[in-house]
Amino acid sequence: MHLALSAEQTLIQDTARRYAESELAPVAARIEDPAQRALYLRNLRGLAELGFMGLNVDGAYGGTAAGTIAFSVAMTEIGRACAATAVSMSVNNLVCEVIQSIGNQAQKERYIPRICSGEYATGAFCLSEAGAGSDPSRMRTRATRMADGWLLNGTKMWITSAEYAGVYVVWAVTDPTRAPGKGISCFLVEAGTPGLCIGPAEAKLGQRGSSTNPVIFDECRVPADALLGHENDGFRIAVAELTGGRIGVGSLALGIGSAALDVARRYVCEREQFGQKIADFQGIQWMLADAYTEREAARLLLMQAAWNKDHGEPFAKAASMAKLYATEWANRACYTALQLMGGVGYTQAYPLERYARDARVTSIYEGTSEIQRVIIARELLRELA
């Protein structure tokens, strides 16, 4: 049993915290305005320079090879300052890891260094569709084999960073005669490929600095070597890789909730009502005690999942538990923090209202809380089978 971070992990955490506090937090409110896109892309370049876009990626491809625990603690620090920036970091790491895990040598050498270095502002992960969210096996996007490659047709939804991605990992049905999920393959599509169209950005409750768009494939031709992994094996890959993404999103949520509580904790120590600091009311104290206790539980669940992944242990159940708990906790923490701060917390005078908006999607994307429960229950029952 050893619960302390290593020297390297601590260094990465400190580096992330310093960058987040000095560069990200000051602009986090401004980048909510889409007109400030340049500022947002500057954030992403900064993260790439720090080596944060491939934290769990081999050094041979420009990654940092620091492991999942380092990835998790860095995500939390970045998420604490700016969730909209952190979500791109999470997706980039996910895309790099997918390519590293199933790509051929040429694909790894071509794409991973470009994402890690910041040459590509981001990668994109194109799985969801309008009619295939929690159940991606029912996707409709088709890839038809041609003499010299593949022809893609269909529309993907909720694609993070679609407007400025350099490469898109795209899932499409290659054999519609097979059962759902059994005839899906995965492709790498480069930005600028004819027939690849980016739809208008969604107007969202939170994480507004990050662009979320439909991505339309309209007679989009890609070469034969765009196939990532084996034909008809794509769905299994998506499911496996999303598991790692869940640690990222859980860590991100941990950062948002922590930021919210820290603001509120400082506030209750200053605010006076009824002739005393409101922190002297037991009702207030116990809200803080509960919220910070649950925070530690969320953090340890994330550490457990990350440790399992780094040590080659099964981690699907642990990752889902951590994602479920951390993201639901983040929402509760924002609710509690708003309650602690009263009316002023509800205004834009403090970053809390943004944290509350940013937290909400974490229990929806990368698998809703309900889907996490489905996975957890399935694993629990499988253990006995």
């Binding site: 037991q282 009702g283 116990w286």
Partner: protein
């Protein structure tokens, strides 16, 4: 819209309080009878060496209480006037059950035994509704006085929530029926002269129709009490029984051949709302006691009640009691106005919430009282243990949720739960 209790009901509560003060409290104080309620209660009530069933002196005291309540004209409140009752309503019963339970432990109301000075005599109500002329002649008076009791045998070792999958069967013989099977959690079986046994007589496992209820004498050949099931809260009056080639005449059929599930549903609907009202009363009692204690107790030189950490959880519980009271009253009123099966979903909502709430209130009362709360010198551990049972019996919480979901999502028909004919 008027939220006042009906004037005659409010007046009746006062009448009951007078009766309790005059005739029940003295009996409780007499001859160390308080041993059945103070810290010695579990030991005083339990015949540990005979299956853990209630001791004879305890049941005799309950019987004497019932006799006094009947003589004073209270015991039969819920029954029709023709049978010496007062035509009591579901609303009246709910209000009375809550009122009695809110007084805490005592001879006026002992939920562990389904005992109260105002009877929750579902057996009699079912007899009046479904009994044949011959069955009524035999049973009504005995049930009305509380001297006779019919146990209820639906659950089986392998079939609890899925009662319609029961394996007990009854087949026709030349003279009547032959029953084979096993039943468990038959409450009151240690003394009951008869057990209402539900057996499949037609149809398939899972069907609502084809289950028939039989009034089976517990001394019938082939009827055996196998064991009493020891529970969280002792004594136990819950037994597991077996039926081996038990022969009963055709006249033992209760409520019509193949129509047994309707009897069950009726039983559950009426019982669940009363159980909910009792749990609500007990919850309120726990809150009231905790509030009083918090005002008295002065750790660190100031009343415990001045801590918000003490106040707020009790406020949450008290708020839930207020909300639940409104729902219980409304639901009981609707049952009276539109029929027992008109609001099955709301009955389930009341039941689900009330039983949980009581457990939470008892738990909180223990916490506020500290070490004394945990001791048997306070009643909360007993209340917790009893009401914990209610979260399982008369349909588990999950079954209540399933029923509400059934109506909410359109899988079930409100006026026609499984086996009930509109």
């Amino acid at each position: 819209m008027n939220f006042d209790l009906p004037a005659e009901l409010a007046a009746y509560l006062t009448e009951l309080d007078d009766f309790i003060a005059r005739e029940i409290k003295p009996l409780e104080a007499h001859n160390d009878n308080i041993r059945f309620f103070d810290h010695r209660r579990e030991h005083a009530r339990t015949d540990w060496d005979h299956g853990g069933v209630p001791r004879a002196d305890w049941e005799a005291l309950l019987a004497e209480t019932r006799r006094r309540a009947d003589a004073a004209g209270h015991y039969r409140y819920a029954f029709p006037k023709a049978y010496g009752g007062r035509d009591g309503t579901n609303l009246g019963m709910a209000v009375i059950r809550e009122h009695l339970a809110a007084k805490g432990l005592g001879l006026h109301c002992d939920l562990q035994n389904e005992h109260a000075i105002v009877a929750n005599n579902i057996g009699l109500l079912l007899m009046l509704e479904y009994g044949s002329a011959e069955q009524k002649a035999r049973w009504v008076e005995r049930l009305a006085t509380g001297e006779g009791f019919i146990a209820f045998g639906i659950t089986e070792p392998d079939h609890g929530s899925d009662a319609t999958h029961m394996e007990t069967t009854a087949v026709r013989t030349a003279n009547g029926w032959r029953i084979n099977g096993e039943k468990t959690w038959n409450t009151g079986i240690h003394t009951a002269p008869a057990d209402l046994i539900f057996a499949r007589t037609a149809g398939q496992a899972g069907d609502g129709d084809g289950i028939t209820a039989f009034l089976v004498p517990t001394d019938a050949r082939g009827f055996k009490v196998e064991e009493m099931l020891w529970t969280f809260n002792m004594p136990t009056d819950h037994g597991r029984i077996s039926l081996t080639d038990v022969e009963v005449p055709d006249s033992a059929v209760f409520g019509g051949e193949g129509r047994g599930l309707m009897v069950v549903q009726h039983f559950f609907n009426e019982n669940r709302i009363r159980q909910a009202a009792s749990s609500l009363g007990a919850a309120q009692y726990c809150i009231n006691e905790a509030v009083a204690y918090a005002r008295e107790r002065k750790p660190f030189g100031k009343p415990l009640a001045s801590n918000q950490g003490i106040q707020f959880p009790l406020v949450e519980l008290h708020t839930q009691c207020e909300m639940l009271r409104a729902l219980v009253h409304k639901t009981a009123w609707m049952m009276d106005t539109y029929g027992a099966f008109s609001v099955s979903d709301k009955v389930s909502m009341c039941n689900l919430w009330a039983n949980r709430l009581c457990c939470e209130a008892a738990d909180r009362a223990m916490q506020v009282h500290g070490g004394m709360g945990y001791s048997r010198h306070k009643p909360f551990e007993h209340i917790y243990r009893h009401h914990r049972r209610y979260r399982i019996t008369e349909g588990t919480e999950e079954i209540q949720l399933r029923r509400v979901a059934g109506y909410l999502f359109g899988f079930m028909k409100q006026r026609a739960p499984k086996g009930v004919v509109e």
